[in-house]
């Protein structure tokens, strides 16, 4: 058996072995894909059809659920809320972190590593730990039911990861470039703004994508900050819709499928930045 396998070239492998490997991958793929496909198809059924015919194709196809959601203003309104909150969060976190990462990467001063460690330690503390006092503080600042009450804390909690990734990147830019810029009369901010940032565009793209995804999927913070449903983001909308139409399963399915699309579309566009950001963040964190 072992001699037999020994003779095979490692790339091709035995037919049996590669078949069983394929089987494992395909079973896992079914585990992942079936719930998604089920929801997409379920959205095209009526709830009665769904319980009499849970697996098969819709018969007849009923586009009303999807149509109704897309025609209602509330979904688009939440999409807009999620979008501008994600965009503003990203702008704030990337701007603030880039400035800090610049200092951590290219200035020598006493206490730098201690300060950097403090920021990096923020990685360990998720919203769940701070959400309650954060709520109390936001109420003191009058930021409840205010988009800033979500944007600023998200930016603050996104900083550790962003600073770590950007610092690594800024460090890799050769010192000669900075020297040349300074000789030509560039101020530190001029160097940062006109030379460093443009050179760091891939890293900026990576951290921006991470910030957008984190903001997009954030649930706990908007849950406590927003009580006015005119401010709701998509995750809150999903929960609300499920509560309202719990018995109309097909309709809820259509809703979550529509709610998935922006995230999956973003994934299709930004897959590379996302994966490089997650692996860099995890490996360096």
């Amino acid at each position: 058996m072992s001699t037999n396998r020994h003779k095979q070239s490692p790339a091709s492998g035995g037919l049996l072995r590669s078949l069983s490997l394929h089987t494992i991958v395909v079973i896992t793929a079914l585990f992942v894909a079936v719930p998604l496909v089920y929801a997409v198809l379920g959205g095209f059924k009526t709830t009665r059809q769904l319980s009499s015919n849970p697996i098969g194709l819709p018969d007849p196809w009923m586009p009303e659920n999807y149509g109704g959601i897309l025609a209602s203003g509330s979904f688009w309104h939440m999409l807009w809320n999620s979008t501008y909150i994600a965009v503003l969060t990203t702008l704030v976190v990337v701007a603030v972190s880039a400035l800090a990462a610049f200092v951590f990467a290219r200035f020598a001063f006493r206490g730098r590593e201690a300060l950097f460690t403090m920021f990096a330690a923020g990685l360990m503390f998720p919203f769940a730990v701070a959400i309650l006092p954060l709520f109390v503080l936001l109420r003191m600042f009058g930021l409840l039911d205010n988009p800033l009450g979500v944007i600023l804390p998200q930016a603050a909690f996104g900083m550790p990861m962003t600073i770590i990734i950007l610092r690594g990147f800024f460090r890799a830019i050769p010192g000669e470039i900075e020297e040349a810029a300074i000789l030509d009369g560039c101020t530190p901010f001029g160097f940062f703004w006109r030379i460093l940032l443009p050179m760091a565009r891939p890293a900026i793209a990576t951290v921006s994508v991470l910030a957008v995804v984190n903001s997009w999927n954030q649930f706990m913070l908007p849950l406590v900050v927003f009580s006015d449903d005119g401010l709701f983001t998509i995750p809150l909308g999903v929960q609300q819709f499920q509560g309202q139409y719990a018995t109309d399963v097909a309709r809820v399915m259509a809703y979550i499928v529509v709610a998935m699309l922006p995230a999956l579309g973003f994934y299709a566009v930004a897959e590379r930045q996302l994966v490089s950001g997650l692996t860099a963040g995890a490996v360096k964190g």
Binding site: G13, V103, I131, L137, F157, Q218, V224, L278, V283
Partner: protein, 308 residues
């Protein structure tokens, strides 16, 4: 983490540094450090969370109550259960799939894309999706089980199966993320090493066991770290699907904290839970970095080292 690069062009003055750091410091102290300090402060008071600061000092009473509370002790146990399940089921699955997708398998780009896709969805969407799929009445899962002659399960509705159901959902959502980490780690292992082992006559399994697996050490340790931190803070999924029920059987620390802090207005007590969560994360992170990841931080010949 000391830089070895000579820092000839230093200085530029204290003010420049301060100006660059100021926004980050304000945001970080105002919205990360201050809340954590406030939690510490509030945790020694009996406080309903109304305006102003708490005044009814109770010392460590909240903590003694916490440690005698069956629900909270149950939270710790359930957190541990999720961690153990993640480590013995989810991570090996992710690692195995990552190794398979590292081979020349047909359609591997597609599989990678598919397996990672659930990570992109919010926990809210995932939660609602699985509430319907694992519905005890006519959810998809029970229909499929029916084909194999298995009686329908109650999934989230039964205290004895609710944690297993939550874990299935977590696996669905997160194994692709860990898989991506392992794929990246695997790609960081120089080809020559596995090839050399093969030339020396090592079979596929032996190459994996004695070459690939040890060199994946840093990635595995990071992946374990993220799983544990994720389990400690688990909230969204549980809150939406069960709210902690039935009868507290799926409650996590974050859910208990949320119940007391935002529903029952026992903010002092809930703050004590936050503080305990803080310490559990802190102690775990320090311990882990000190004893488990120490070798990585010093840099064995690994991915981590290369990327620094």
């Amino acid at each position: 983490m000391k830089t070895t690069r000579p820092r000839s062009r230093r200085l530029r003055g204290f003010t420049t540094i301060l100006l660059f750091l100021l926004p980050a410091l304000v945001l970080f102290f105002g919205l990360v450090v201050a809340p954590i300090l406030l939690a510490f402060y509030a945790s020694v008071f009996k406080w309903n969370g109304m305006r102003g600061l708490p005044t009814d000092f109770v010392g460590l009473a909240n903590f003694t109550r916490l440690l005698a509370d069956e629900v909270f002790l149950g939270d710790l146990w359930r957190g541990l259960l999720l961690i153990i399940l993640s480590l013995v089921v989810q991570l090996p699955l992710s690692l195995g799939i990552a190794m398979l997708l590292n081979q020349r398998i047909r359609g591997r780009a597609f599989f990678r894309l598919l397996f990672f896709a659930p990570y992109m969805l919010s926990e809210a969407i995932t939660a609602v999706l699985f509430m319907m799929i694992l519905s005890p009445t006519d959810g998809l899962a029970n229909v499929v089980l029916g084909w194999f002659g298995v009686d329908p399960l109650d999934w989230f509705a039964d205290p004895s199966s609710v944690m297993m159901s939550v874990f299935i959902v977590m696996t669905w959502k997160y194994f692709g993320f860990h898989m991506i980490l392992y794929i990246a780690g695997r790609q960081g292992i120089p080809r020559e090493l596995t090839e050399a082992a093969q030339i020396d006559g090592a079979t596929g399994w032996k190459v994996f066991r004695y070459v690939t697996l040890p060199l994946l050490g840093p990635t595995i340790r990071i992946s374990v770290f993220l799983s544990v931190i994720g389990a400690i803070q688990l909230f969204d999924l549980v809150w939406i699907i069960t709210g902690g029920g039935p009868s507290h059987s799926s409650e996590t620390m974050a859910v208990t904290m949320f119940q007391f802090g935002f529903k029952r207005f026992q903010v002092g007590y809930a703050s004590a839970i936050s503080v305990v969560m803080f310490f559990i994360s802190l102690v775990f992170a320090l311990f882990y970095q000190r004893y488990v990841m120490r070798r990585d931080l010093q840099g064995a010949s690994t991915v981590l080292r290369e990327q620094r």
